[in-house]
Symmetry: C2
Subunit: 208 residues, 2 copies
DNA sequence: ACCTGAACACCGTTCAAGT
DNA sequence: ACCTGAACACCGTTCAAGT
């Protein structure tokens, strides 16, 4: 360790900081301190703070790539890919939501898209439909994992009674009809599997 | 206009600021200036900046609600709801992505969820499956609209040649096979409609 | 060539002070 | 009761200066 300052070392430090203390703690000054330098020394390597965040997104994509080789038929590989995407969200909850806000244009991003394209072609989806279904799949998986780590689902669903209590029952008639099922705790792994099964059937139908 | 300072007036100003100059321009000081007061005067009304952002999310949800009455059968109402969600994203591109990161616990959020629940019940989905399919639908629609306004789709897809050029062709074989279709411009309205049709079939299958 | 220090124009938030 | 001013501990970024 000769303490060489590199773009890689800076991105490592920024990702660690985001994992440990949240995205809000990722300031140029804090990242710089972690690599033992002043904030201004980072600029030649990362350009700007925006570019640094883009670099983090690329890091995440690069780290799912090994999980996208997989074996088995396309159904099995798709399920594995979905699980990899969710696992990534749990490892990097603060950084993960950025995947939905920044365009997938880096080499590693293109590789991931290509992996999904291959899968859909193997499934027999007409080539014309492949780009659309890739966007449908990736949007759902990224959105679901983002919702999970951001608490969009759990916060409200874990307390359905409190939720309904905010409103007169006649204003939320469907909640009342579903009361029995809304009180059950949700198995998120099982729900995601069920969603993937539904999407697999959607793909099979597009292929037919 | 007696210049009364209210929570509503503050949220109005913040949303305008976000629409005109982006979420980054929404500082306590800038919002305060717009309502003609100092930053500290806002605190009794909004609590903190985080709470102010939650207030903005609620504002967006409140503004889609009128569009969720709708007529026709559940298929037509679902399509209308999806279009309303996309239109909202185009009106408030900076604020919209917050919908995926903050739990839907406010009264208006619960009303929107209840509207989707009703739709799925009318479609004949077994009550046990309704909450899961609500999350599948809302996640996809929010994720798709977020991706559109954030440029996750268009940036890369509008320039497919540049995209493939970054990598040796043998590393992205599926891109090569799809070259003919990737060069076509995408009709995003039509694509979203096709996605909704696929999701409607998915729901019909769950109801069968 | 690579890094630093000082500076500029900002942040969110606390708190005593004003009216 | 409601708002302000000054202050604290921060930001991202520029730029001249150091080695």
């Amino acid at each position: 360790m000769y303490n060489v300052l590199t773009r890689e070392a800076i991105l490592d430090a920024a990702l660690e900081l985001a994992d440990e203390r949240g995205l809000g703690a990722v300031s140029m000054r804090a990242v710089a301190q972690r690599v033992g330098v002043t904030a201004m020394a980072l600029y030649p390597y990362v350009g700007s703070k925006e570019a640094l965040l883009d670099g983090l997104v690329d890091r995440l994509l690069a780290s799912v790539l090994p999980d996208t080789v997989g074996d088995g038929d396309w159904r099995e590989r798709l399920r594995q890919g979905g699980q990899a995407a969710r696992a990534l969200a749990r490892r990097h909850p603060s950084t993960y939501p950025l995947l939905l806000s920044r365009p997938a244009v880096t080499p590693d991003a293109v590789r991931v898209v290509d992996w999904i394209y291959s899968l859909l072609l193997e499934a027999g989806v007409p080539p014309r439909e492949v780009p659309r279904l890739e966007r449908l799949l990736s949007t759902f998986v990224l959105g679901y994992a983002t919702s999970e780590v951001n608490g969009r689902f759990s916060e409200g669903t874990l307390n359905p009674r409190a939720r309904r209590a905010q409103l007169p029952a006649d204003q939320v008639p469907a909640h009342r009809r579903l009361a029995k099922w809304l009180d059950d705790p949700v198995d998120w792994d099982a729900e995601f599997e069920a969603d993937m099964d539904d999407l697999i059937r959607l793909i099979e139908r597009a292929a037919a």
